[in-house]
Structures are given as structure tokens and as C-alpha cells.
Symmetry: none
Subunit: 201 residues, 2 copies
Amino acid sequence: MALTRRQREVYDYICEFVEENGYSPSLEEIGAHFDLASVATVHKHIQHLVAKGFLRKAWNRSRSLEPVTEEVSELPTIPLLGTVAAGSPIEAIEERGESIRVPAQLMGRPQETYALKVRGDSMIEDQICDGDLVIVESRSEARNGETVVALVGGHDATLKRFYRAGSQVKLVPANSTMQPIEVAASDVQIQGVVRGLIRSY
Amino acid sequence: MALTRRQREVYDYICEFVEENGYSPSLEEIGAHFDLASVATVHKHIQHLVAKGFLRKAWNRSRSLEPVTEEVSELPTIPLLGTVAAGSPIEAIEERGESIRVPAQLMGRPQETYALKVRGDSMIEDQICDGDLVIVESRSEARNGETVVALVGGHDATLKRFYRAGSQVKLVPANSTMQPIEVAASDVQIQGVVRGLIRSY
DNA sequence: TTGACTTTCGCTTTGATTTCGCGAAGCTAG
DNA sequence: CTAGCTTCGCGAAATCAAAGCGAAAGTCAA
């Protein structure tokens, strides 16, 4: 989406104006700067800029122009859904409404990622410990060996390693003092796969 | 959400007032400053500012205006300085010029925080493994038990647990197959203390 | 209770944005 | 070259939001 020369000039002027004044110029002011006799002209330029993604604006709102800054490294915000038991499955995921920001490198598809606070030490041998935040990508399938959030029996969420053999699924804790859970694949619902981890000391 | 000129003026005045007096102006005072005859006008401006996220206020409380500091979207960027050996000290910290953004909850003082990529498995029992990114707060002193980045003999950076007994310092790897380093306090320079950890699968 | 504030209501004015239809240039493909 | 496209420009009318007034009612803290 390339701009024409005129559009570029208008865009630059708007940016400059906003930078300087803290509010956006009116169509008339823009027109005056370019010696244009009709605001309709300015309006059309702005529509093009919006269409091409260089500007955002609210409809029919005074001075609502906003240059779109290509925030290269804007941190995605994802919801913190609740707590997941790393040990025996004790509680399901529950909505808590919080949200956190995570580094982009931990994220796959932005819309389908969420965070859970880990409870218990059952994944300790995978270096996931109590209190850690795991970044989970929402998926309904997993590959062998991946660490997953799984719903067993429809109501208990748990964090385990996933292995499938035929129609049987093994959910293995990374803790040698604990036993794997082995159930029919139909009784397990994969909620997501762990993509990242954040720990705060 | 862009402001109109008037809204920006009002907002600026409120900020200035708060800055100067330590409390927020009343509607009447704001009105007086702009020669407005009705507080209703001021009230409307403030409602817009609140709606656009520039101001917060308590309902029906005198002088409860609070300019919203843009801290929410202002994400701390910290430099990724290089690699630190979690095992035997093999290489010093070296500048690589990269930088990453981290969640605010991992940060202490923004200016004095940096990240290092961990190499080796010597901190494995503290659930820090090869490839992890540790968030380090720059400090020259540490308390017993903290995980630190230390310079031993002036040139080798290493990640260890810190224990001090008198003038002796013990740097303990969290890996039972490895030996602690024990040296005079004068030979150890603490570079920083680990505050957080980020792992990407 | 009182007085210092904030909310809310209806109404007017002012200022900006939208939308119309029209025309002149300029680019581009057939 | 030229038909068909897009950009760029004009001006006027319509529409809507912002910005203002004054008065009355409601709240809170002291």
C-alpha cells in the first residue's frame, strides 16, 4: 500500500501537527496549510490514508485523527485465566479477568494464547515450578512429548506431558514420585500446549 | 483516542495544577482558568477525558482527578547483553546490542535491569536451564541465597547461588554434580541478582 | 447542618466532518 | 493515441459532536 506524493505530504503534516500540539488538526487547518479551498479535498485524502492503514479516526469526531505507528515490538496482552494444578488435578480453569503482557517471542497466534499460574511441583523435572506462569497456546491436539493443559473427565484441568498410543493417552507428570494418568483418548480434552514460561523471583 | 484542542488544554491545565499543588483542581477552578461560566462545561470535558482514558476520577468526590500516566502501554525495554555460563565460568558478558521487552512484573528499577541468555545446566536444580533468559537487576551486593551473576577473577561471568561467610564467598551451582567455588570476597564482583526468567519452547 | 463540590438536565451556539456532484490532470493498457 | 482509470481539486448543503450557558438537585466531609 504505497502513498501518492500528495497523500504523503498530508500524512507528514498530520504527524508533525500531532507531535507538536498533542491533538490532531481539523480538516480546515490541514486545508489551510496546503492552500486548499475545500475541506472535501482534505477529507478525501484522509479517507485514502485510512484505507491504506496510515491513519485511524473515529467517525464524525472532531480532531480524531491518529497516525498509526507501526509498533514493531508492541507487547501482546493475553488473559491470565487462572490456576492450573501441575500435580493431581484439583481445580478447573476459572476466569479471573486479569491480563498480562508477555514478550512477543513466547507467542504464537495472539488471539489464541493465554496464561496460567502453575500450582504444585509435578512438573519440576521439566523445570516448571510452583508459582510459574505458563504461556499456553490454545489447541485441541498435541504431539507426543509436548507439555499440555488437559481436561480429564470434563472438569479437572492439569498440566502434564502428553503421549498417545493408539486410543490410549498417557499424561505424565515430570516428577518421579508421581504416577502417570492413563485414560482413553475420548476422556481427555486438550486445552492447549505450553509455549513459554515466565518466572518472577 | 485523540483529544480535541479544548480537551487537550483542559488536560494540560489539570496536569500542571496537580504537579504544582499536589491535589487536583475543582471544576470551578478549572472553569475560572478558562473563563467558563458554567461548571457543567468543565464537567463535560472531564467526562470526555475519562472516556478517552486520559483521566481517572472517583465518582462524586471532590478533587479526585488523576491524570493517567501512560504506564500501561509503556513497556520496559531492556538490553540483552549476551550469554552467561551457568556452568563453569567460560565467558564474560559481552555486548551484543540486542534488546527485548519484558513484562513489567519482572522488573525492578527499569534502568538497571538487563537480560542474559543462560548456557549450561549448572542451575538445573533451581529450574534454570540451558537457553533460558534470565532477567537481572544490576546490583553490586547480594544477600545469602540469592542467585547472582558474578565476575570471578575479573573476567569470567557465571551464574550461581551466593553465600557469604565472613570474608569468604561461596558460589554454589544448583547441580549436585558440580563443585562450589569458594574464594575471597575481594576476588568476586557481583554484577547483578536474578529477578525473573523467561523460557520459550 | 452547612458549605464546598459534583452531577444532571435542557437548550443554544460554534465548529468539524460528511456527502453530494462537478471538472481538470495524469497514468496506463490496449 | 485514447478510453478508462485514479488522483486531485472546487463549493455548497447536511449533519453531527463539541463547547458553551444557567439552574437545580445531589453528595460528601467536616
